[in-house]
Subunit: 338 residues, 4 copies
């Protein structure tokens, strides 16, 4: 922690700050410059973080030096983590895994049909929403537990792992019974009650980045899960909100590299939400692979005209299949495989 | 709903779209221009909203005409709503109400002492957090139910109404028992499970705008609460996230006017979060009053150096008192009162 | 300047950095923590700013301590500056000055007619664009020098000061001959050639904040003008670009207070661009006065339906007149006058 | 152009709007819905664009249907354009071209040395700044014409094409004499005087996207150049400003696909500015190639510690060389070549 003092800070004010810090077990190093004096505090920054040094008289600026996350950081664990879903599906190594399926689960037959298509094309994990976070209270809200049953049935039938979103602390246990991976959606990235509840389970979880969350805040949300005991966290970049309206979201391609430099967790990319339009999904997916992601989540629907949600950004199965062929080549070019 | 067709759209494609819409009970008006053909659909737009016209062949762009919210809109109810908290506190009329108190409830004595100060200065509603949404799992998370008890006790003792945040669907009933107004925080603005749960209660609720929520999305979240039966909604502008880092958030002063033009609900402003620094709170509060808000929520602490949260943006009681005197004059200047 | 080292930085790397800094005349203070070592450099930060310490081996982060602007800062000059336009118009004191007029100068008669109206309502400075920065090459680009002649003629006839935008280094001298205040538009805030050219004149200049400029960058652009010898700079907040699309721009009301804390220059606010819609201008203007601005620039047109630019955000003269009456009351409430 | 009327619009108001449009030579189609009436206008939208229909009584919203750019659009020219720099360098086809070199030209020897390295690695175009847009007036502003001479000399000596930024209308002719491609920087993207001046020359120009420019605005700036007669325009995505501070800019990877769908111009990507840190440049460059760009501009310096600008984001020549090898493989994977 570094404290920059105002030009007019008095000696009494400086002593007051130093005493406070020393009481908390920190050592202070004072550097007096011509224009500014700065104090560096050595020791566990956490104890200072809860002390609002900004309000101490004479303080101009407080600059944290240590990252606020610990357990997810590369400093805590140098090697990249492998998150094991099943024996065959271990995410974070050389192989890039594909999650695909419809936005919402609409019927057992519909789900099965799409699942077969995406599996044939190479997807190992089936996605499908049972609880849908919809902006409008009047839109389709998902089939709930009925949908979870379909997802589990199709997953078992085809031998695919499954992922679905959980939105309510009261549903965590229920959803855990049906699927292999929990999805924590962008809108709930800072729903701390839900993060804690998921942290108490041991179920792998894919944590989507909030629409306006910094990478640091995203990692802090991961830290919530890990600090509660669940280390099986996949990060998922799905586009951020910017001033640009030509796309639904702005896919932050840099976030893949930055998150992997700062944290040891695998990074998945969702080019469907990251673009919002099927015609843009392919290029974004290829870019994500080239940039080093560990998996992709792509929305696929065999009749987007009738999809109950996210039709505009869903790929047709045939399009998904040809994209998979392209993605394999891009993965090879960077010494990965799909 | 207006559909703009691609320049190369065929007659078959146009018929396909028109038929689809007519099946849903809408009438289509086709306007053929030199460069583009557009189709206007007359009828309830809701049925079309769930049909992803964007994916129909030949479609370039789909433009909704009607606002997606209904019950909160000025078209549904022309007159501004008054939200009644108690007989004396009816928000949305000529009088502007002040909510003030500490960010977190830290102790009974501490809360009582601050409450007396803010009441003396003119605040009618006491704020204080018992469940705290903290970015870090290692920071103080609030006193929980113990805090709620203190809040209720002090409120009753001094005759102040009370407001506190609820973060978990499982806590709604509990919190309702202790306070007069629920606060739904910015991070949970699109926690749809929580919105629904709060909608089922009849407790007045202050809905904070999400850090990157458009005004339209904010109103859609209010619609969730109202559509579930609870019309006692206060909107709260508390600053949005932008590229500017000199302030914690960018207070969107225009949002007051826009929200009041589009919806009939009262608008509260939180200049503490809207600035992030006590030295900026006063000017932002005066601006909010001048711009037409119906209430202000301000963090006050008698020892910000020891505050367990949000110390940097908390006012000292004396500063709050002098600000109140200034705010009264600004309110008078625009024919309101505090 | 503070340099935070990587956890694995070696002694050789540390020495390399310290030597480099000492060669530049700075003194290094090293603080070795358990997790991180930091180095504080004492001395003129400018010499280090051009040295990219970020690329030195072992460096994790470089944190500047001193503001990069000097001459515009409160540290350079504690008292707020008064920019003198004429004997009667001295901006930055108790009186708040109004600049009003049409977006574009369209004809001599039109300009005169609007000028009389805004002067009657209390505006001392007449605005009008002769060179218009238009997004489209096909839109009206302004009357050029002919427009400047009209502006000067009307200003002299009515005894009003005048302001107009200059967009091209080659036009600075020309524009200086016709008006009292140069306007440097938001799109040119970092047109450094133009900043330098204006800096060489002694003409008062109003520097609009760029649509996505931080307050720090805005002050750096002011520094360009001042460093070239022209201290007669007015800052102008006119709204920034954010994700919100309900308004043309998001008026950053906090920027008034922040700019006045950091710099000694007067701050003008443009609620016309800051909202983009005439129905929102009034509340934004009142908010700006309450927040402490030193002047307002408002677009007024007597026939917005026929305005060649910015019709939607222009006030009718009658509306401007009634707004002025309200603004006077708000100004009084905070001990200022209009 | 579509006009959405307010629910309370009167017949007189509707007639007033229709008459206005018909006077301008447009035909109006009125669709009366239960809640809203909309009017579609058929004909050249340009004449309406300058008429502020928003201010007509009864109007709620005006929605343009046609893109405001024409000459750069895919509708004007279906085939992608090839911009010819020299016989060997024709940008926009199967081959992806590399522009590389130092941020600033610092000396003849320095430039020559870096140029040889990047040429050996496969770059055909040498970049180097002679006029530098620096945020601070106290930073190195470039060598000016002296730098241009070095650039031309080294380009001729090695048989490389050259590119450099022009910042001032007065310098366009000068810069045209020395280099093969003009660069118009992000900060000047809406410097309309400069766009016009460059449009009058026939020199190929690379137009960088402004830091907060929408794709539509970027294309409008290209339209300025083309409308003035110069069709040799390369677009350059270089990252946009968002709330994320972990990277200098957020590289908008989607912008490549969107720009190429809307316009026929080649798209270059600048991963150096798009990330701001050399450790992130490689992944961003690979992503850009995978996403379909037609060229890359990368900053390379053989001694970043001493670079006078942009050291932190410059690659060492050896790193650039190994990146080139990787980029070639990614290009092959998507049927392009480098």
């Amino acid at each position: 922690m570094i404290v920059v003092l105002r030009a007019d800070a008095t000696e009494t004010q400086i002593s007051h700050i130093v005493e406070k810090a020393e009481k908390l077990g920190l050592k202070a190093h004072i550097s007096r410059g011509v224009e500014k004096t700065i104090i560096g505090f050595i020791g566990p920054e956490d104890v200072l973080r809860v002390t609002p040094l900004e309000v101490f008289p004479g303080v101009e600026q407080v600059i944290p030096v240590l990252a606020p996350y610990r357990l997810v950081s590369r400093e805590f664990k140098k090697e990249p983590s492998i998150v094991k879903i099943t024996e065959k599906i271990q995410i974070g190594g050389k192989k890039i895994f594909m999650m695909a399926g419809p936005c919402s689960i609409e019927s057992l037959e519909g789900l099965r049909s799409i699942a077969k298509e995406v599996q044939k094309a190479g997807a190992a994990i089936l996605r499908g929403g049972a609880f849908k976070p919809r902006t409008s209270p009047y839109d389709f809200q998902g089939l709930g537990e009925e949908g979870l049953k379909y997802l589990k049935a199709v997953g078992q039938e085809l031998g695919m792992a499954t992922i679905t979103e959980v939105m309510d602390t009261r549903d965590v246990e229920l959803v855990c019974r049906y699927v292999d991976i929990l999805q924590l959606g962008a809108r709930n990235m800072q729903n701390f009650s839900l993060l804690r509840e998921i942290g108490k389970s041991q179920k792998p979880v894919m944590l989507k980045r909030g629409i306006s969350a910094t990478i640091k805040e995203w990692l802090m949300s991961a830290e919530y899960i890990v600090a509660n005991g669940n280390f099986n966290v996949l990060l998922c970049e799905r586009g951020i909100r910017t001033f640009e309206t030509a796309t639904r979201n702005t896919l932050d391609i840099n976030a893949i590299s930055v998150a992997k430099q700062l944290a040891h967790l695998p990074v998945i990319v969702d080019p469907s939400h990251g673009t919002g339009h099927w015609g843009l999904v392919g290029n974004a997916a290829k870019a994500a692979v080239a940039a080093g992601c560990d998996g992709l989540m792509i929305e696929v629907h065999d009749n987007p005209e009738e999809a109950l949600s996210d039709g505009p950004q869903s790929l047709l199965p045939a399009k998904f299949e040809s994209l998979m062929a392209e993605l394999k080549k891009v993965a090879q070019a960077i010494d990965r495989e799909i």
